[in-house]
């Protein structure tokens, strides 16, 4: 009787079953690193295993520069050079180099695009939002450089099996409510350390109806509740996404009917509203409606959480034929999304044209950009006393740059609606659909 997370870790450690709290050596299917943590990881690998050591399996190492790419900062370029050199030395096939056609952008979205996220597998990454890949029914979590270097040399990592918290959403989410609202709602319920050391499993009819991109948003922010990993059962939606992306065979897991959970929370999906996290913590929850008096100076759409194609399609639905009232910065997560923004149409108009006509400032240079501040010249970075509403994942002090800045986290619908009005706005207000929302 095991949960999905337990089944994956049992399989990865060659055991028939594992229990929460048990330490097991898990065989790693994919290790991902990027330009911020890759150089340090490589440094430790060489120091500990030797300058000429080889990685345990070149097919299982994925290196995706994405954080500090479009900057004049010399050290950032030096860091990408370190990755490049290592890839050459090790002859690694899965490298997505800057300045080439292979460049992708934000690792958590690039991983699935390139077919590196597969059901039943174990993925570690040197980035806390590696948990995004739990949407693909795998065990995926963030680690530090030292653990990553250990994996590079051995292909294994000691992990403690987490107990699982189950979140079930019955029924259907209302119109204009997105996965971002759902995860902000959950984090508001459990707090920023409510899932520490635990797995968060999402289930129920409303979750089953979500697209892969929306499921990724849900799993992406489990770390903001302290969670170790998020996970969702694989289904036709999962398989359809993977069909054109990977030829590697995979083996999904489903929870046993008698699996044991530390908590099970059942929600009526219809009760979820457009939700916002107030500065400076992702668990400072309010409804968008209750914050309608908050004046903004900026809006931001991007990142692994809110810079996927559906996020831009959703924003465009609100912005089409409207003008933004505050500086609104848009940056797609990956180059594939950049391309789609140029070509995808809504009502005969490309997304790019909709955003340009609305008065947005758009960078088609896919990267993490200002989600985590970054070098001073980063696109969209907060450099003063801005009040920003953002589709990103964290609103800690200084997260998007200057610590004087204030960041409100919200869904692409809510961010777009707020950009249009210049204050925090429930999207149903802009779209004339607030009646019947129970106000």
């Amino acid at each position: 009787m095991q949960t999905m997370t337990e089944k994956i870790l049992a399989r990865a450690s060659g055991k028939r079953s594992v229990s929460p709290g048990e330490n097991v050596w898990a065989n790693v299917d994919v290790l991902m690193t990027h330009d911020v943590c890759g150089p340090g990881t490589i440094g430790i690998f060489k120091r500990e295993f030797g300058a000429n050591a080889k990685v345990w399996n070149r097919e299982k190492v994925v290196i995706i520069p994405d954080h500090y790419i479009f900057t004049s900062d010399d050290k950032c370029h030096r860091n990408v050079d370190i990755l490049r050199q290592f890839v050459k030395e090790q002859d690694l096939p899965h490298y997505y180099d800057v300045g080439t056609e292979r460049y992708k952008g934000v690792c958590h979205i690039a991983l699935p695009e390139a077919g590196h996220t597969r059901p039943g597998e174990v993925l570690f990454g040197t980035d806390s939002h590696t948990c995004t890949a739990g949407a693909f029914n795998e065990f995926a979590t963030g680690i530090g450089n030292t653990d990553a270097a250990f994996i590079l040399g051995t292909g294994k990592l000691l992990v403690k099996v987490p107990p699982t918290m189950r979140f079930v959403f019955e029924g259907e989410f209302p119109p204009w409510v997105l996965a971002k609202d759902v995860i902000l709602h959950i984090i508001g319920d459990i707090g920023v350390d409510g899932a520490t050391y635990k797995a968060m499993e999402f289930a129920g009819e409303a979750v089953e109806r979500l697209t892969m991109e929306e499921r990724m948003t849900l799993c992406n922010m489990v770390i903001e509740g302290g969670g170790k990993n998020g996970i969702i059962e694989a289904d036709e939606t999962t398989f359809a996404y993977l069909r054109d992306r990977t030829t590697v065979p995979f083996n999904p897991v489903a929870p046993d009917p008698g699996a044991s959970y530390v908590t099970t929370k059942v929600y009526d999906a219809r009760t979820i509203e457009p939700t916002v996290a107030q500065p400076h913590s992702p668990d400072r929850r309010a409804t968008a409606r209750d914050l309608r008096d908050v004046r903004l100076t900026r809006a931001y759409i991007g990142s692994c959480t809110g810079g996927k194609l559906t996020d831009f399609v959703n924003a465009a639905q609100v912005m089409r034929g409207r003008k933004v009232a505050v500086d609104t910065f848009l940056v797609p997560a990956t180059t594939e999304i950049s391309q789609a923004i140029r070509t995808e149409r809504l009502g005969g108009e490309t997304l790019l044209s909709i955003f340009e006509n609305a008065g947005c400032t758009i960078s088609l240079d896919a990267s993490c950009a200002a989600c985590l501040g970054g070098p001073k010249d980063t696109f969209g970075r907060i450099n003063g006393h801005e009040v920003c509403i953002s589709t990103t994942n964290r609103n800690f002090p200084g997260r998007m740059g200057a610590k004087e800045g204030q960041v409100y986290l919200a869904s692409p619908y809510t961010v777009a609606a707020s950009a249009v009005t210049g204050r925090i706005t429930d999207p149903r207000e802009v779209l004339g659909d607030l009646e019947g929302a129970g106000s």
């Binding site: 150089p39 120091r47 980035d127 680690i143 530090g144 030292t146 920023v192 501040g373």
Partner: protein, 198 residues
């Protein structure tokens, strides 16, 4: 790092001190394994904290506070190993907090930079920044030199010897789990299982 007793000034912080406050992302262009960049990371340790005196005075690279006392969920947020490294590089030796974010705790142990000690009491109300503290890791106590109060802490358990040794790799070599020169093969090395994960 080793030494059962750590004495010195205490730096007091609140709940949910996240890794962006510990080391703001603009400094993540520094690579911790490059010695001068390791030192530089230390100079920025905790510079993102709101409304607090600088942990490391501007223009210097070391802190006068070897001990940090904090509330819940210390080190939440990013997996950046730069966070415990920055505090350690600045001369911070231990954090005593009510709880830790999982990845930060593990990174403290893996790097050996910092002892992440848990307290069952809310010590942020018992200390002010600048108090003299005595952390006795063997006895599992933290004493406030100003008030004379002594507080019981939770044992570090299996994490302690790993940090004493200087981190995961140093511990594994010291205890013979992996040899100095060989490519380590952990498959048969059961004792490593004793290391606390998170």
């Amino acid at each position: 790092m080793s030494g059962a007793v750590i004495r010195g000034k205490v730096y007091v912080l609140g709940d949910n001190i996240d890794t962006d406050q510990i080391i703001p992302a603009q400094y993540l262009n520094l690579v911790p394994t490059i010695p001068e960049e390791y030192e530089k990371l230390g100079s920025y340790a905790l510079c993102g904290v709101l409304d607090a005196p600088r942990f490391v005075p501007e223009g210097t690279i070391k802190t006068e506070y070897p001990l940090i006392v904090a509330g819940r969920n210390f080190g939440c947020g990013s997996s950046r190993e730069h966070a415990p490294i920055a505090i350690g590089a600045a001369g911070g030796k231990a954090v005593v907090a009510e709880s830790y974010a999982r990845i930060f705790f593990r990174n403290c142990v893996a790097t050996g930079e910092l002892y992440p000690v848990e307290t069952p009491n809310r010590l942020v109300d018992e200390f002010v920044t600048g108090d003299e503290g005595v952390l006795d890791l063997d006895a599992g106590t933290l004493t406030n030199g100003r008030t004379g109060s002594r507080f019981e802490l939770r044992p570090l358990g299996d994490a302690r010897p790993v940090i004493d040794a200087g981190g995961l790799f140093a511990y594994a070599r010291q205890t013979g789990m992996i040899s100095k020169n060989d490519h380590p093969d952990v498959r048969e090395q059961v004792p490593l299982n004793r290391i606390v994960e998170d």
